[in-house]
Amino acid sequence: MISYRCGKCGKVVEIDSERMGIKCPFCGSKIFYKERPPTAKRIKAR
């Protein structure tokens, strides 16, 4: 289960990748944004 943020109502929704299709249970929107993982990201400045 991965959580995504709904593009319409802004609520964080857990989505099961096994199932086909995604839909927000609160507003019915089908547009989602991937949340930034809380871990620190190390990159080379080049």
Partner: protein, 250 residues
Amino acid sequence: MKFKFLELQENYAKILFEDTTPYFVNAIRRTMIADVPKMAIEDVTIYDNTSALFDEIIAHRLAMLPIPTYLDEVKGCEDCRIHYTLSKEGECTVYSGDLKAEDPRWNIKDKNIPIVRLLKNQRLILEAEAVLGTGKEHAKWQPVCGIGYKYYPEIEIDQEKCDLCMDCVNSCPRKLIEIKRNKVIVKNPEECTLCMSCVEACGRDAISVKGNPNKIIMQYETDGSLTAKEVFQEALNILYEKYDELEKKL
């Protein structure tokens, strides 16, 4: 070889070399670009970035910042690291001055370099580490910019052939030629770029412009991490060591 500083500011220098050759001055130039070490940000740890720019672009922008480099302290020290932290929330613009070092001595020289603009509720939290490097590895470790040299301009005017037609005066893009007491004179020959406009404009072949390859003017700027004088001194030291090494191996 002799040299003297025609102009010396903190971040800018103009040097006149005499009794030299272009090969030698070019060696100094290339050493300044590729071999003089300076500090630059290499590792960035991003904790949060909701700005409009990608993490990589922000890291790349941070890498370009001029970090004060005290060569006598960090020279040869590959493990020396300067630690910086940055934490900002919009609405604002993040500037290089917002990057805080543990010791304020290491804070970025130029405080007003914009990094990213944050809108309301956008955040940027990161840590960065600067390490010593040289320009041959990546341009962010290049302490000088706009470095170039030219032959010393020698402008000769044949006053007998000259008819004071003003063609050369008008053709000079740097306005270096003028007429004084019915004589064509060159105000400041060092400013001449050897563009030959005056030679082409003169219908009577009265002007000749030549560059003297044994007398060379070099000018450059630094990004602020080192002073112009330090870069020059360090380049000469490195060159000297290299020639020394070569001599020993022969």
